[in-house]
């Protein structure tokens, strides 16, 4: 799959995921973080201007597609991105992916940082 197809596939996987779809949402953000040998995913569901709700997708296949996207978007001579935010807008059906190469730990979600990151990641 090329980059474009991967982005579409990732958007589909998120939008059709049983956990994400369990409650209504207008917008959605998935925060992806890669550390040494491991990675984390944290998803947030948004309805109107209400605070974000935690809703990380259940599908384990998402990681495969994200790994592929990370490889496919690698720029020669640079390390692969270490964080990305996948943003979905239900009304428009658009998926937007932002990549972070530096200071990726700004996107490492913990209970203490979750609300602030969820606000920052809001589409």
């Amino acid at each position: 799959m090329d980059k474009d197809a991967l982005i579409v596939e990732i958007g589909r996987l998120i939008a059709n995921d049983r956990k994400v779809a369990a409650q209504p949402w207008d917008k959605y953000a998935l925060v992806v973080w890669y550390g040494d040998g491991m990675s984390t995913l944290n998803g947030f569901r948004y309805v109107c201007e209400q605070p974000a709700q935690p809703a990380t997708p259940a599908s384990f296949e998402l990681e495969d597609r994200l790994d592929e996207l990370r490889a496919a978007t690698r720029v020669d001579g640079k390390d692969a991105w270490r964080a990305c935010v996948v943003k979905l807008d239900r009304d428009s059906g658009k998926v937007v992916v932002d990549f972070a190469y530096d200071d990726a730990n700004r996107w490492l979600v913990t209970p203490a940082s979750a609300a602030e990151i969820a606000q920052r990641a809001r589409p």
């Binding site: 474009d4 040998g37 984390t40 597609r65 991105w81 209970p111």
Partner: protein, 309 residues
């Protein structure tokens, strides 16, 4: 809201439509590259199998699932299952190829979105087919299948899925109790050695769901795990779960060992959700993927943060 920054460059939240139309590929190339991809996922429509011949053979089922995109597979699996009666499911369960097809169907249904309401019902039918003795099963052929075992340990409930050779491939756990200071039986210690022997040098028999949550469960809860990974990153994650439970929360966990059907998994994929039993609210959820190797560090949720979750 201020625009977020990733790296040092400001991020346009969205490419202008005309930019997207002119340059539909992902863009990069700025000094500190910030890639923006904007695509549309809603063009996809669930596939319709109604006009196509219903696949009933194992190879056909695997083919139709393989041809579907991953997002389409739950719907495809549901459609296939609706076209199979219990006798056909039992027949599939009687051969190795059929079992592989049932596992593929079950895997696809496990990822079904909530609106596919029959997915769990169809998974239960697959379970029944796997549990039932196959009428035309040829024992001499060594037909084997996955097994799903659910055990209640105190307040905790765990379902393990093992492959045809008794190797765990998935575990789903609802945890609300930690058993501290539990000695391991000699049988458990031996099972750990046996599990480690399936791996490579430096492996231990690692628990899929920590021993402190489920006590002695034998091989269904053990996999060859790099020793350093077992006692560092994975143990740290288990410590986090124990602290969530000690703080009065419930932890719901799914662990997937991949790839399936090999002695030693390369990766351990963990999905967990922390809920407050007082109101059922999800206070935190996360997915973590580890490689089955040394040198990983897991930054656990600090105990102090849990009180504010």
């Amino acid at each position: 809201m201020a625009r977020p920054h990733l790296g040092s460059a400001p991020i346009p939240l969205r490419m202008a439509p005309q930019q997207t139309a002119r340059n539909p590929t992902w863009s990069s190339g700025v000094l500190n590259p910030v890639g923006i991809g904007e695509r549309n996922w809603t063009d996809w429509q669930p596939p319709s199998l109604s006009a196509a011949p219903m696949p009933q053979g194992a190879a056909q089922i695997r083919q139709v699932l393989g041809d579907a995109s991953r997002a389409e597979r739950p719907q495809v699996a549901l459609t296939v299952m609706e076209g199979l009666d219990d006798r056909q499911l039992a027949h599939l369960a009687s051969s190795e190829e059929g079992l592989a097809a049932l596992v593929a169907l079950d895997d696809a249904l496990a990822d079904a979105p909530a609106h596919l309401g029959d997915a769990q019902f169809q998974r239960d039918r697959i379970d029944d087919a796997l549990d039932a003795p196959a009428p035309d099963k040829d024992d001499s052929a060594g037909a084997v299948g996955v097994t799903r075992t659910t055990v209640q340990i105190g307040k905790n409930t765990v379902t393990w899925t093992d492959d045809s050779e008794g190797r765990p491939i998935r575990a789903e756990a609802d945890l609300s109790e930690v058993f501290d200071g539990i000695d391991r039986s000699s049988a458990e210690t031996k099972a750990q050695r046996d599990s480690a022997d399936r791996g490579i040098e430096g492996d231990q028999g690692g628990h899929v769901i920590g021993h402190r949550f489920v006590k002695d469960q034998g091989l269904k809860n053990l996999f060859p795990q790099n020793g350093n990974f077992n006692v560092s990153a994975y143990k740290t994650l288990e410590n986090e779960w124990a602290d969530w439970i000690d703080s009065g929360k419930e932890v719901h966990i799914t662990v997937d060992l991949t790839p399936k059907h090999q002695d030693r998994p390369d990766s351990v994929r963990v999905s967990y959700e922390v809920t407050d039993p007082a109101d059922g609210r999800v206070v935190y959820d996360q997915r973590v993927t580890f490689r089955n190797e040394a040198g990983q560090h897991y930054d656990r949720v600090p105990r102090a943060d849990m009180a504010n979750a």
